[in-house]
């Protein structure tokens, strides 16, 4: 955390650095392996290890790791059957992958000295666009031209269409933005706040106990938000898949 109070910016934790030793400080090539990429690979490895090692024995009476793996599986499976129904089962892999990736990325970012890749809008926007384009293609393939009736609320007079259709279209295109901004803003704001309070600890001397207790509380809150945001992203993905399958 920020030592000495001065010098360190609370935003320094979001800097992306190239891990290639040949690069100057702050210089990033197009295909460089950055600290962000490193955390994504670490997340991937951790999720895979969590699930593969957890299910290695496949015991009838699960152990601790197996219980955790099974709980996370059942959580997402339940979420999908609640929001989409039995047809949603074939989209389980993508939903589960998104959930585990975001959740582990958020939680890894809670470790000191690590990097939170979900605090960068380009990462969350890429994931949101993946969901958005996937769901739109799914809806068009399944409903063909009927998909465009999606933008006309049923029962509205034709005279209102010029007003309502643009509103509905904007509403539709705001989905990937709200999906990505929500996750990114929450992680960015939370981690910045954490660093700002941590910066006060050294400066305030004995009274540093006050911001310190605040930081302890904030860490708990941030952990909750890490779960919550992964959950929100997942449930909205499910809702969008449900929309694509059933339209009105």
């Amino acid at each position: 955390m920020a030592e000495g109070g001065g010098g360190h910016s609370p935003l320094e934790q979001f800097e992306i650095n190239s891990l290639f030793p040949a690069r100057e400080h702050g210089e990033i090539g197009m295909l460089d392996f950055t600290n962000s990429s490193l955390m994504m690979v670490a997340t991937l490895v951790l999720v895979s290890a969590f699930l593969i090692l957890g299910m290695r024995r496949g015991a009838l009476v699960p152990g601790r790791m197996q219980s955790l793996a099974e709980i996370s599986y059942e959580f997402i499976a339940g979420l999908i059957s609640d929001t989409v129904g039995s047809e949603g089962r074939r989209y389980f892999p993508i939903v589960f992958t998104l959930f585990m990736f975001i959740l582990f990325g958020n939680l890894l970012g809670m470790l000191p000295y690590s990097f939170t890749f979900t605090s960068h809008i380009i990462v969350t926007f890429a994931m949101a666009m993946l969901v958005f384009t996937g769901v739109t293609i799914l809806a068009i393939v399944k409903h063909r031209m009927k998909f465009f009736s999606f933008f006309v609320p049923p029962g509205t007079p034709v005279a209102m269409w010029p007003l309502l259709v643009p509103i509905e279209v904007i509403s539709y295109f705001s989905r990937p933005i709200s999906l990505s901004v929500r996750l990114f803003a929450n992680m960015l704001a939370g981690h910045t706040l954490l660093k700002v309070f941590a910066g006060f600890i050294g400066v305030m001397g004995v009274f540093g106990i006050l911001p310190f207790s605040m930081v302890v509380a904030l860490v708990a809150l941030e952990t909750l938000i890490a779960f919550l945001q992964a959950y929100v992203f997942t449930i909205l993905t499910c809702l969008y898949i449900n929309d694509a399958l059933h339209l009105h």
């Binding site: 929001t83 989409v84 129904g85 039995s86 047809e87 949603g88 393939v141 399944k142 999606f150 933008f151 609320p153 049923p154 643009p166 509103i167 509905e168 904007i170 509403s171 539709y172 295109f173 705001s174 989905r175 933005i177 709200s178 901004v181 929500r182 803003a185 929450n186 909750l224 919550l228 945001q229 959950y231 929100v232 449930i235 909205l236 809702l239 969008y240 449900n242 929309d243 399958l245 059933h246 339209l247 009105h248």
Partner: protein, 130 residues
């Protein structure tokens, strides 16, 4: 005559009051419900901003393309705000984040019968052409 039926005794009344108070005190916030509520609140805050961003973006693009400097921006700013409020209204009234006014929230099983039709070979071929 009227004096014969005494008013309900104070003790009885007290008992009833105590029972009602105890009932109110026992109502506790369920942590699971609170988590769901927070997830819900997180969703609506961003909806207005997102719709405004899209509206203003479309307006600026159209202006840039057609050279009608402020007009499409103004129009789509208002439309974006309307879409934002519509999104919030939908989230709050339990319609989910979806476009359109779907009445039944429960997914129907009737559509599952139609599903295999998607996997048919001719349908797939058409998709690739188009």
């Amino acid at each position: 005559m009227q004096d014969d039926s005494p008013p309900p005794s104070l003790e009885k009344l007290n008992e009833g009051l105590r029972a009602a108070k105890a009932k109110r005190r026992s109502v506790k916030a369920d942590p699971g419900e609170r988590g769901k509520g927070m997830a819900f609140a997180m969703r609506i805050g961003v909806e207005i901003v997102a719709a405004l961003i899209v509206g203003v973006g479309i307006g600026l693009l159209l202006d840039h393309w057609l050279g009608t400097k402020p007009w499409f921006l103004l129009l789509f700013f208002v439309l974006g705000a309307a879409a934002g409020f519509l999104n919030v209204f939908r989230v709050v009234s339990g319609l989910g984040g979806q476009v359109g006014y779907r009445k039944e929230s429960a997914p129907t099983e009737s559509d599952s019968g139609r599903e295999p039709a998607d996997g048919q070979a001719p349908a797939k071929g058409q998709d690739k052409d188009g």
